[in-house]
Symmetry: C2
Subunit: 320 residues, 2 copies
């Protein structure tokens, strides 16, 4: 069930004033305040429904998964403008990711939350996890930035620029942007192994290669379930990932930092996660780095959920 919380008098990084920003959110498990609280930050086309039958992360946050929603309260806000709550942004570039983090923190305050057991997120949700911890360095006991970066790399900026060009210039913006995005989430090997050069293997007579049908299907599917304005918002936010200029500044975070990266991820490469880990370790931060081994690339954060469960489970005991 969607709830709402109102943030009054918000001033954005861009310097604009909002008399009110309404955030929608969902809570799973024990009511707020009755169990350790886990804040989940959703990714580009995700939303506040992270667990349950329709949850986008129900392999991780479930009785079988690493985080039990019986023992932990699960809180997730919708990023304003993702339109899951029916609200579309007037200006898709109104906020930066830092604004979103500040809004989430103000919402937590409004809800009476003074401490978090953990913040977890992957991809843009992982960047948001970094940003929240940076702005509120003592709020959470643990943070899990997964398959992400604290700062947009030139490669990420390249992909977001392509996305923005498609959104600005295409007569089929959502479909085409999604098809391109799919290629960022995978590796050559992932697609080559899966489709093996097969053509029209369902016998539809289209003559299309299977990989082409799959991409076009996913383009259409997103266009049916997602709003164009929301995709604009999320793409813009992705291009604004920039928690701090220098990695050393992350050392102000007092939470235990559990980095997770994917060895084949092209969008958020392992080498950058490793550099972040090494820099923080050298400064004595409480930091670890775990690696998901996969041929699939960025999407492995959803596909290789058994590895992710294995990495995360020890930090979410159900008998304490």
């Amino acid at each position: 069930m969607l709830h709402e919380v109102s943030i009054p008098d918000f001033r954005s990084e861009r310097g604009e004033s909002y008399p009110e920003v309404v955030l929608s959110y969902e809570v799973a498990g024990p009511p707020l305040g009755s169990a350790p609280l886990v804040l989940v930050c959703h990714a580009l086309t995700g939303n506040s429904t992270v667990t349950g039958d329709e949850g986008w992360w129900n392999k991780l946050i479930s009785e079988e998964g690493a985080i039990s929603p019986t023992h932990y309260t699960i809180l997730s806000f919708n990023i304003p403008g993702n339109a899951y709550d029916g609200r579309e942004a007037d200006d898709p570039e109104a906020f930066e990711l830092r604004d979103v983090a500040r809004l989430f923190l103000l919402a937590l305050e409004a809800l009476g939350v003074k401490e978090l057991y953990a913040v977890i997120g992957a991809s843009m949700g992982g960047a948001l996890t970094w940003q929240i911890a940076y702005l509120a360095p003592t709020l959470a006991k643990h943070i899990f930035p997964i398959a992400c970066d604290y700062r947009a790399s030139d490669w990420l900026l390249t992909q977001t620029l392509i996305q923005k060009q498609i959104l600005a210039h295409s007569s089929h913006p959502l479909e085409d942007a999604r098809i391109h995005a799919m290629s960022c989430y995978r590796t050559p090997q992932s697609l080559n192994v899966r489709f093996a050069g097969q053509r029209d293997s369902r016998g539809t007579g289209s003559g299309q290669y299977d990989v082409e049908s799959w991409l076009l299907y996913h383009g259409d599917a997103l266009a049916r379930r997602f709003k164009l304005s929301a995709y604009h918002v999320m793409t813009h936010l992705t291009s604004t990932i920039g928690v701090c200029e220098e990695v050393e500044a992350l050392a102000r975070i007092r939470s235990a930092i559990h980095l997770v990266s994917i060895d084949s991820d092209l969008l958020f490469t392992h080498d950058r996660a490793e550099a972040t880990y090494e820099a923080l370790r050298a400064l004595g931060a409480d930091v670890s780095l775990a690696v998901i081994h996969s041929i699939h690339g960025h999407d492995a954060f959803l596909m290789e959920y058994e590895q992710l469960n294995h990495i995360i489970r020890p930090y979410f005991p159900t008998h304490v």
Copy 2:
């Protein structure tokens, strides 16, 4: 200087008849018939000017490079529809890559060429090299398929589908397609090392990241120098790379096969070149595989020309 050769009565793979197809070409070095002949197959936005001041491959084919245009005659055809000779295709999907190879072979016949010292090409030009050798297995003494594949991988089909969607739907088709293509030619590390997250380092006040300015510049530059119809033609040809179904069929080629691949190439991955090499070696083919080491990805075939020269030079002696 552009020359022309006319191919009468050509029937395409698609079954269409052409009373005449005119191919344009350039010759560098000794006149045809007076020295060993090297056929160079150009890549996506390349053309028949491979050597000389304006040549797109003048680091490789020059007195300083591996192939001396004093000792070898250099022949290069324009792929029909690339518009370098002023001719634009009426239907950008009229030909497959196999048609192009057949046209080149008919043109060689018309020019009285009965044997080639070598065929060389990279990227789509490398696929064309494979295709020519497959159709005329005893024509060339050596072939050099560089940074390419004999068959489009699912990853390549993914990228060509994105290119086709942009071309079909964008109001800035050439610019946007080129920006996307640039990302296929590089690696995350290549861009991250080169631009290091710098913003507006030329002080233009644009606020753009340097990588964004660079991509937009290259989009504009291509749009100024290249025809939209030609980009359509080349993109379609790329999606039709399919010399044969099974790699074993390549063993009919009697030339010495010198594969060159780039260890970081994402568009034409090294693992596929290795698989091709292993399969042909197992069949007793005269095949070798050399690797260009680079962080830059596909573009390394132009960027790491010293390595490429080093690999190729031994096969082009100037004192025989």
